[in-house]
């Protein structure tokens, strides 16, 4: 369903909106679980929470991004909550290991190592914050949308300039600015300079 149609149906009080939205909502929420590697047992929770958020916050959806992209950002944040809890749990356990031989709920949230989880968390935190930026000024584009377009199309800087309807110099400056911003976010969320996006940081197990 397109965003405009979703808003029209919600404004009209159309009960069929659930049937129309549900398959994609579910697919997006489960896809986010897969992308962030949230463990199977939490998936139904995520789908339910995403549905709840979509229908409590639908009026905050402005239609300036695709509906499924908006839903994905909700699902990403929901999965990030699980990963953050897991990180704290793991830190706590490594500081004071307990004698439990059974796995706890949070132990089952993800199925990979702590360092992989840290890396995943860092990347997704950066993307979530970029995604939370307000709509771009008229004629401009949000950083996250530039990054999405860049990864999807693999263009040259000249093509980026055409896409952004700007000069080659301005496109280069934009890339430099985005890199600087991504770097600052990475340092913010990784908590140290050798963040996941650095050459050295990766070598350190990120």
């Amino acid at each position: 369903m397109e965003g405009e149609e979703f808003l029209r149906r919600m404004h009209a009080g159309d009960a069929s909106v659930w049937e129309a939205l549900m398959p994609a909502l579910r697919k997006v929420a489960l896809g986010a679980c897969r992308d962030l590697k949230v463990f199977d047992q939490r998936k139904d929770d995520v789908v339910q929470d995403v549905a709840l958020k979509v229908f409590t916050h639908w009026q905050s959806y402005q239609g300036d991004s695709k509906l499924n992209t908006w839903i994905y950002s909700i699902a990403r944040n929901r999965c990030l909550d699980d990963l953050r809890k897991l990180r704290v749990r793991n830190e706590s356990q490594s500081a004071a290991p307990d004698d439990d031989d059974g796995l706890t709920l949070l132990d089952r949230l993800v199925d990979e190592t702590q360092s992989d989880m840290e890396h995943r968390l860092c990347v997704q935190e950066v993307l979530a914050e970029l995604d939370a930026q307000p709509p771009a000024r008229k004629g401009s584009m949000r950083m996250i949308d530039v990054l999405r377009w860049w990864v999807e199309n693999g263009p040259t800087t000249e093509e980026l300039a055409i896409f952004l309807k700007t000069s080659l110099g301005a496109a280069k400056e934009r890339k430099s600015y985005i890199l600087k911003h991504v770097k600052s976010l990475c340092q913010k969320y990784c908590g140290h300079d050798e963040c996941a996006f650095s050459k050295k940081g990766a070598a350190h197990g990120h």
């Binding site: 405009e4 149609e5 149906r9 919600m10 404004h11 009209a12 009080g13 159309d14 009960a15 069929s16 909106v17 659930w18 549900m22 398959p23 994609a24 579910r26 997006v28 896809g31 897969r34 992308d35 139904d44 929770d45 789908v47 339910q48 929470d49 229908f55 409590t56 009026q59 499924n68 992209t69 994905y72 990403r76 953050r84 809890k85 704290v88 749990r89 706890t104 709920l105 890396h119 993307l127 990054l147 999405r148 860049w150 990864v151 280069k172 890339k175 600015y177 985005i178 890199l179 991504v182 990475c186 300079d193 050798e194 963040c195 996941a196 996006f197 650095s198 050459k199 050295k200 990766a202």
Partner: protein, 229 residues
């Protein structure tokens, strides 16, 4: 000036972002995350209810019912309510007021996104709505266990100073015999996981939680949240 750990300018990073440069694992990780997101969104475009298994359909029906019970989904078709079809153009804000459903949602929207004066009330109201859904989810039914949605242990309270509230609560819970792990989710939200090893201490822990405003109806571990008022 760039650090030693980071590319000097955007060129190297952006080239690595599309796989034309090697040696920047961070850019690769970012690319993979964005590609995974794009793949998920592509897959979702073709999603159909027919693809769901009977179990999956049942799960989604249960979620729908909970949304309906909480008043979050429109209860009837627009044709039944006020003759608006889904082909109609988006109604103006004045037209929206003709529908009771939309009236309620508009009011909630005004609270949520309107004036600062009402925002705290709105946030509290939304927490109540969310809590109601959670409570409904937690209510025992005739459904088999597999059909009962998890998430019923996530309860929320609000506090003017969540950090202080969490610290105080943790102290009381530990005194009552609970194991407590807290996590700061962001500047305004904290998460707590509370477990009780000894059954004889459970009631005391529940009393502490009830005193803090939580409604606990099931066995531990409890996943709780404290949000800023």
């Amino acid at each position: 000036m760039a650090t030693d750990n980071f590319p000097e300018d955007g060129e190297e990073f952006f080239e690595a972002l599309v796989g034309r440069e090697q040696g920047l694992p961070g850019a690769k990780a970012l690319r993979e995350a964005l590609e995974a997101e794009a793949k998920t969104l592509r897959e979702a475009e073709g999603a159909s209810a027919e693809d769901l298994s009977a179990d999956e359909r049942q799960t989604m029906t249960a979620i729908r019912q909970r949304l309906l019970d909480a008043g979050l989904l429109p209860p009837t078709s627009p044709a039944q309510v006020h003759g608006v079809t889904s082909d109609a153009p988006p109604p103006s804000s004045r037209q929206q007021s003709t529908s009771l459903w939309t009236k309620q949602l508009s009011r909630l929207g005004e609270w949520l996104f309107g004036g600062d004066r009402l925002r705290p009330v709105a946030i509290a109201a939304s927490v109540v709505v969310a809590s109601l859904v959670v409570i409904i989810v937690g209510t025992p039914t005739n459904q088999p266990t597999d059909e009962v949605m998890r998430g019923d242990s996530v309860l929320v309270i609000t506090a003017a100073d969540p950090a202080a509230e969490v610290a105080q609560l943790e102290q009381k819970l530990k005194a009552a015999g609970a194991e407590v792990i807290h996590a700061k989710l962001n500047d305004t939200e904290w998460a707590l996981e509370v477990n009780v090893e000894k059954p004889e201490q459970l009631e005391q822990v529940k009393q502490v939680l009830r005193g803090a405003g939580y409604l606990i109806g099931k066995q531990p571990p409890y996943e709780l949240e404290v949000r800023q008022k």
